[in-house]
């Protein structure tokens, strides 16, 4: 595609102001000493007044982590990470933990406001924030290593729903945490998950009691702010029998030249007839067009569909991070349980993504659907890596996988690495994958109707992703569509 003077200008403008969340909040932080050691693990545990069993668990994980080799099977290229050259704990300084939202540092509130995350309940309730009928969303805001505020707690408590930071859950509901923490992703699971077990600082905890349908969307907003810190959050969601919850996750970070590490663990447990819908819009700072800076995003997300007829649906829009290494998975243990994975992964410039899912069919009549859309532009590499495993007892299991890749530009790569393992003849497994580029015909059609080349590409790509984007909750879908367009800006021409 020939680049006109005008497109080049637009591209320049856009790349300069592309990452609008790249600002830094100047707030005093309390940090642990730099580096990683048993003392740091103890320091974090002590900071959070954790019970003895949790410290023991962390130490067990840390000692195990020391014996593990760095995984090298992914199609990602990055220099070895110096784990001693980072801070493992950074918290905005407060005299005492805030009792209510009013006590939260106004500087923090302003940060979240700037990010478009409403932390003021009254404002939302009064309908000030947007259109009159904007549905309310309860938010847990995680700033560097700690959760700074959780909204709508009272309202949720009335229904018996627990939504708080995991640190608080460890203090207030130790029996639940102890029962489920590490039950889906054990401490020895993989390199980055084990590291997370040792040094996780905060995250969200959700418990939906029997038969309760959570009245609002729950959401966590992760923000990495401090320099040289790693963010290691841990999220645990338990949906008890017959309950329903929809959970959203958003992430941003300031624009910096150094790479920062983010290694999170998310565990979901769905009991009989429970449904969890987990949506992510990941927009960590992706680095600049030369691949300088950006977040290394190594995330372990796994759901256990333990109960009969339980259902877990993962939806992710991955546009940020220099490196994404993420495989949200479902263990379909309960009979008739359902796992879904809808993903859009967009990589531009020097970004690399190796993402996909695992569907482990154990119970009878378990079903899974995988729809993955990978878009690669610039010099980016985008890999779908997925596993569908049908175990011998999974009578009547059913899987359908579709992964499509779109290439924009001749310097990028798109790869598909599916593993299909079936040990039950009654199971039906289907996989299809395609790779193509935006066709000249489609572009021509749009251009002819007066759309600029960039708008045309954005329109076509949004159409390509539609199957996935429609799975997102309404508020997120709109944002995601814009994000898709922004992430690809500068890729045409």
């Amino acid at each position: 595609m020939a680049a006109t003077e005008q497109t080049l200008d637009t591209v320049r403008e856009l790349t300069e102001q592309k990452y609008k969340y790249g600002f830094f909040t100047d707030i005093e932080s309390e940090m642990a000493p730099k580096g990683l050691s048993e003392d740091i693990v103890r320091f974090i545990s002590a900071k959070k007044n954790e019970p003895e069993w949790l410290l023991e668990w962390r130490l067990k994980a840390y000692r195990h982590w020391l014996t593990m080799p760095t995984p090298d099977w992914s199609m990602l290229k990055y220099p070895p990470i110096d784990y001693q050259d980072a801070y493992y704990y950074a918290a905005p300084k407060v005299k005492e933990g805030p009792k209510s939202l009013d006590e939260v540092d106004p500087e923090l509130l302003r940060t979240y406001e700037k990010l478009g995350i409403p932390l003021k309940e009254q404002a939302i309730l009064a309908g000030v924030e947007g259109a009159g009928d904007t549905p309310a969303i309860a938010v847990d805001a995680v700033f560097d290593s700690v959760s700074v505020a959780t909204t709508f707690k009272k309202k949720l408590e009335e229904k018996g729903i627990i939504f708080c930071s995991i640190s608080e859950a460890i203090r207030e509901h130790p029996e639940l945490v102890r029962q489920y923490l590490g039950s889906v992703v054990p401490y020895s699971d993989n390199y980055y998950a084990t590291l997370n077990c040792a040094v996780f600082t905060d995250g969200s905890f959700v418990y939906i009691p029997k038969g309760v349908r959570c009245p609002m969307e729950l959401s966590t907003y992760f923000r990495i702010n401090a320099k040289n810190t790693g963010q290691f959050e841990r999220t645990l969601i338990i949906a008890d029998e017959g309950s329903y919850v929809s959970y959203l996750e958003g992430c941003t970070a300031p624009q910096r030249d150094e790479n920062q590490l983010h290694a999170a663990v998310v565990e979901l447990v769905a009991l009989d007839n429970a449904t969890i819908k987990y949506s992510t819009v990941q927009n960590w700072y992706p680095g600049d067009e030369n691949g300088k800076g950006g977040i290394y995003n190594f995330v372990t997300k796994r759901a256990a569909c333990r109960g009969k007829n339980s259902k877990v649906s993962w939806t992710q829009v991955e546009t940020g991070s220099a490196i994404t290494w993420k495989y949200p998975s479902c263990i379909l243990q309960g009979d008739n349980s359902v796992g879904e994975f809808y993903s859009v992964a967009i990589t531009n410039n020097m970004q690399q993504a190796d993402t996909g899912t695992k569907m482990i069919h154990i119970g009878k009549n378990t079903r899974s659907t995988i729809v993955s859309k990978g878009i690669s532009a610039g010099k980016a590499q985008n890999t779908y890596r997925g596993l569908v495993r049908i175990l011998p007892k999974a009578e009547g299991a059913r899987n359908h996988t579709q992964c499509d890749s779109l290439l924009i530009g001749d310097k990028c790569g798109a790869h598909t690495v599916p593993y299909i393992e079936s040990k039950n003849r009654t199971a039906r497994v289907e996989h299809e994958a395609t790779t193509a580029k935006i066709s000249e015909d489609q572009l021509f059609y749009c251009r002819q109707r007066g759309l600029s080349e960039e708008d045309a590409v954005s329109l076509i790509v949004n159409g390509f992703c539609k199957e996935v984007l429609k799975e997102l909750p309404m508020e997120f879908a709109v944002e995601a569509q814009k994000l898709v367009a922004i992430s690809l800006e500068g890729s045409v021409g």
Partner: protein, 439 residues
Amino acid sequence: MTTDNTTVQALIAQASGLAPTLPGAGLPWLKDLRAAGLDRFAKLGLPTQRQEAWKFTSLRPLEKVSFGPAAESAPVSIDRIPSVLPGGPAHRMVFVDGRFRADLSQPGALPAGVVLESLGEALARDPDRVAGLLGRTATFDSHPLLALNTAFLADGLLLYVPRGVTVADPIEAVFLGTPGSAPAAWHPRLLLVAEENAEATVVEHHLGLPGATYLSNVASEVVAGPGARLHHYKIQMESLDAFHLATATAHLGRDATYDTFVLNLGARLARHEARSVLDGTGITCRVSAAYAAAGNQHTDFTTLIDHAKPHCTSREVVKGVIDGQARAVFQGKIIVRPDAQKTDGYQLNRALLLSPQAEINSKPELEIYADDVKCSHGATAGELDDDQLFYLRARGIPIDQARALLVGAFLDEAVEEVQVEVVRDHFRERLHRVLEGHR
């Protein structure tokens, strides 16, 4: 990787002992090639499941057997070995226990300039012809089986078709395994060279007498020049106690057509690995297979199609049925290199599981570095369609026959990929005989 297991040690000792006695041992290039292969094998050992390429296939059963060299010329009759041509073979080269048997072979009349002989003869008589060709595509740096084959490089088949020449009739290479006094291993090498605009059809028959335990570690090297058309087919019906490990590496030039198909029916453990490099524009490459596995058979079909240059087409259709406690593996990878624009790649893998203990592991993989390409793959696994069975049964066809009909029709779709009609018909017939229970 360990080299302390006895099978590996025995093979290493055997290769170093044999080295001075092998044909062409006096040639420095050949001596070095064999030594390098042995050295590499000693370092790598046999592949283990920790290696990604061998994730689903374990060579553990192999480690429990100690393989010696094959005994000298067993007395056999090949009268009952069917030929692709209804009237008997036009060109047939026979190898018994890995050794060429001139007494059983009939090279037939060939066009001028075509060389069809055993590799042993070629090395003894005219080693210069094969000097630059042997080991050209069978690079063994990260491939233990090719390294092992290279260490034992002595016998096999040489086919050389000069520029513009067409060999009309299929060339049949028969590899027969016999039950010796002890398990034996052989490592035949096939070198198939078609120069510019040459054309030939090669059919490999790998057969074993019942009860024979052996390891056949075959390496086929294929070089197709510009515009050459090479049809390379294989039917594998080794003894059910045998191990069949084959690696076919092909280097294709501009506008070449390489058409390969494998019918995998025999062996206790069979693996066919096909690696093709499409190193020119306008190439058409077909790599397909059909397999039927039952009992405790393990069958593995692994392919790599490397689109190194633009404007090439590749097509892959792999279908199989798995019965009993058998396991099947399909690993197919298509690489499209950065400048290989206008690539058209298609890959289909379908498996039918016929019994509760059957297992399929499938890994269709795309690795694409160019944007103006059309690549797709599909994979399915499942059982026979109840509706189809019902349809047939409603018409009075007994269940067993109905199943056989459906399975046959399912596999026929893959056999259709064979481009040479006589071979296609022959393969279909052989397949159907096996499905009907006649081995």
